[in-house]
């Protein structure tokens, strides 16, 4: 074949070699077709481990009870025992080391998430005692009268 055929061909071969070299260095070794096949499983395997190592912020109520078991009896008297501690006290993170104290949400807006009265006949919302936040002691925080650990009015 003549030179005018070979010269551009060499250029193309050179570009392909360069791309393959770049790919060999840039694409991690664990990238490829994994368990779910080419369509759904084409990925970098190490990323699954990356996600597993994502730091968790919430512990759970059992973790809180390890030290704060003095609150357990009071909580068990009322209906609020079903609410996890961290919903109001915030995520435990590495408490008690960091942070030493948790920022407690005592706001009215937290209580009315459940206790603002809505008419929801095909939902559990209807079974929860509710108030109209605009009429029920507006401007006051709920915790000034109600004990959030045991909100029953008889024990108040």
């Amino acid at each position: 074949m003549k030179g005018h055929v070979w010269r551009p061909l060499f250029v193309v071969i050179g570009i392909v070699v360069l791309i393959l070299l770049f790919r060999a260095f840039y694409v991690p070794d664990d990238f490829g077709v994994q368990d779910r096949g080419y369509t759904f499983g084409f990925h970098r395997l190490g990323n699954e481990q990356d996600w597993k190592e994502y730091p968790a912020k919430y512990k759970d109520t059992a973790y809180c009870n390890e030290c704060h078991d003095d609150k357990t009896a009071e909580r068990e008297k009322g209906g609020h025992v079903i609410i996890p501690c961290e919903n109001c006290h915030g995520p435990a993170l590495n408490h008690p080391e960091e942070p030493e104290k948790l920022a407690i949400d005592r706001s009215r807006s937290l209580c009315i998430r459940c206790h603002s009265q809505l008419y929801m006949p095909s939902s559990g919302r209807n079974d929860i005692p509710g108030i109209d936040p605009k009429l029920h002691n507006e401007g006051l925080e709920c915790v000034e009268c109600h004990n959030p650990h045991n909100p029953s009015l008889e024990d108040m």
Binding site: F31, V33, Q34, D35, R36, G37, Y38, T39, F40, G41, F42, H43, R44, N47, E48, D50, W51, K52, E53, Y54, P55, A56, K57, Y58, D60, I82, I83, P84, E86, N87, P91, S109, I112, R113, C114, S116, L118, Y119, M120, P121, S122, S123, G124, R125, I128, P133
Partner: protein, 257 residues
């Protein structure tokens, strides 16, 4: 070229091509899955139990570092109000980050709608999250292999590999994907992979006081989620898309989209 030469070179080419094709290994995902039958994550939402408090949304956003005030969320709760005349109204203010505290239903451009209690025939809440489909359309459209399905059935996004093209956000029929405002890649629910793979619960399920959300292993017949899925009347969202979701709903209504 003589006829003899042509036939010879054709035979050589065909046999050579046949060998190289047979060298490629064809992987059937079903075969691989059958070989690993021990774990497949599934999620159960009981819409009867949901009261629309939105603690799940708050816990999810905090746990997974999604800015609270950003208009994106990995999970959200929808309110449905069905009236006597058959009309359906639904809304999800801020994804229910602060719960449902008002009777006014946000109808976007037509403003806030108040349905009088006496007109309401059905009213309920439906929590939504990524369905972690067995045939995820979002994964098929990813041009770079940044989003994928793990062997245990969780759909994840590789943040170092995502180029942010947004195909997956368009491809998801459930609208669960969004562009992360801080990381600047596609983002979605991970079933709290960092928690469940260490034996924990998802942040949303743990925060739910009423047990409306549960995660479990669909391959374990003694698992409470698997038991419910096998024995109760459960439904999935948008079955017609053929995505085979792994999030099951108890008490789903036909009005829920």
């Amino acid at each position: 070229m003589k006829r003899r030469d042509f036939l010879k070179s054709t035979a050589v080419f065909v046999s050579g091509a046949a060998i190289s094709v047979s060298a490629l290994e064809f992987i059937d995902p079903r075969e691989v899955l059958a070989a690993k039958p021990d774990l497949r994550w599934g999620f159960l939402v009981d819409t009867h139990k949901c009261v629309g408090c939105g603690f799940c949304v708050k816990a999810c956003k905090t746990e997974n570092d999604i800015p609270l005030d950003a208009n994106v969320t990995r999970t959200w709760v929808e309110r449905y109000i069905i009236t006597e005349s058959g009309e359906t109204f639904s809304d999800s203010p801020k994804g229910a980050l602060n719960g449902f505290t008002s009777k006014l239903i946000d109808q976007n451009e037509s403003g806030m709608k108040l349905v009088p209690d006496r007109d309401v025939t059905q009213a309920f809440f439906v929590p939504k999250l990524c369905n972690h489909c067995s045939n995820p359309p979002c994964v098929q459209v990813c041009p770079v292999g940044a989003t994928y399905s793990t062997a245990d059935g969780v759909v994840l996004v590789d943040r170092t590999w995502c180029i942010g093209c947004g195909y997956c956000i368009m491809g998801c029929p459930y609208g669960v994907r969004f562009f992360h405002p801080v990381v600047h890649t596609a983002d979605k629910c991970t079933f709290c992979y960092h928690r469940i793979s260490k034996g924990g619960n998802t942040a949303c399920a743990q925060a739910c006081p009423f047990g409306a959300r549960m995660i479990g292993n669909l391959k374990d017949p003694n698992d409470p989620v698997a038991k419910t899925v096998l024995t109760q009347r459960v439904a999935i969202l948008r079955e017609e898309f053929g995505t085979n979701p792994n999030v099951y709903y108890l008490g789903l209504d036909k009005e829920v989209r």
